[in-house]
């Protein structure tokens, strides 16, 4: 077992464990922290896949900006384990079972997928994940969606104003 494998398994286990902890934590603040851990694990995966740019962005944008925003909101609302509402047991069970079913059917589909047999992921090498290459592609081939997504931000901005501003 190579280092890559070990790292893969470790990061995977970490991601899944942290993800589960996001769910089971009663305290929303803990959930946020566990989620940040998931993001870290995923960033680790990115690095493993030699997608450095995304790894960084993931950390900065997600783990950094977005999760801080979440944390900020939760703190603002003063949410904690005591105030955290809990679903009825049966509803939780139903949720877990149906989510599990969803996983099962998808996994069984993947297992049967013949075209995915014998395909492997290029680990650690490959330079498409480098900032230079991504940047080149982003500002040449993908300039249209890039520009258009500015509209998205504009509307999000307007939205934040409309919704957030006190009348």
């Amino acid at each position: 077992m190579s280092t890559t494998d070990i790292l893969f398994y470790f990061l995977s286990a970490l991601a899944i464990f942290s993800a589960i902890m996001v769910l089971v934590s009663r305290n929303p603040v803990h959930s946020v922290l566990w989620l940040i851990l998931v993001f870290f694990a995923i960033s680790g995966h990115y690095i493993l896949l030699n997608a450095q740019f995304l790894a960084i962005v993931n950390l900065i944008v997600y783990a950094g900006a977005i999760m801080v925003l979440f944390l900020f909101v939760i703190m603002l609302m003063n949410l904690n384990a005591e105030t955290e509402p809990q679903k009825h047991m049966w509803m939780k069970l139903a949720g877990v079972i149906s989510g599990g079913c969803f996983l099962m059917v998808l996994v069984s589909l993947v297992r049967q997928a013949t075209d995915m047999q014998n395909k492997s992921v290029l680990m650690k090498t490959g330079d498409i994940g480098l900032i230079k290459n991504l940047g080149k592609a982003l500002f040449s081939d993908y300039v249209v969606p890039f520009e258009i997504s500015s509209v998205l931000f504009l509307s999000a901005m307007v939205g934040a104003v409309v919704i957030g501003k006190k009348d």
Partner: protein, 111 residues
């Protein structure tokens, strides 16, 4: 690393996200679970992109195949960021009016 591993990993994370959406009542946590789903997607995208890249490298050493996957991840992050800003604004607005972020509390509209 076989692609299946990544697929299973990402599907698992994705499903955990779904389960979270289904089992939690706190709107913020639910939203976080959606973010978890998006991250699972991102990881899978990168994995696929590397897979396709690996295949393409066999024929051409300078191939850029697979880069579109990573670009897509970039856009997902962009969208997610926008969504988060709007979503949190909505949640805060809700909280302002009801002092609650419980989604079960959202039942004035039904039937």
């Amino acid at each position: 690393m076989p692609i299946q591993y990544y697929i299973y990993l990402c599907l698992t994370l994705f499903s955990i996200g779904i389960i979270g959406v289904l089992t939690r009542r706190n709107a913020i946590i639910v939203f976080m679970c959606v973010e978890l789903m998006l991250n699972a997607v991102n990881l899978l995208l990168v994995a696929f992109s590397k897979m396709h890249h690996g295949v393409a490298l066999g024929s051409s050493a300078t191939s850029m195949v697979g880069i579109e996957g990573q670009i897509f991840v970039f856009f997902i992050m962009v969208v997610a960021a926008a969504e988060v800003s709007v979503g949190l604004a909505i949640i805060v607005m809700m909280y302002r009016n009801t002092h609650s972020v419980d989604i079960n509390f959202l039942n004035r509209l039904k039937n």
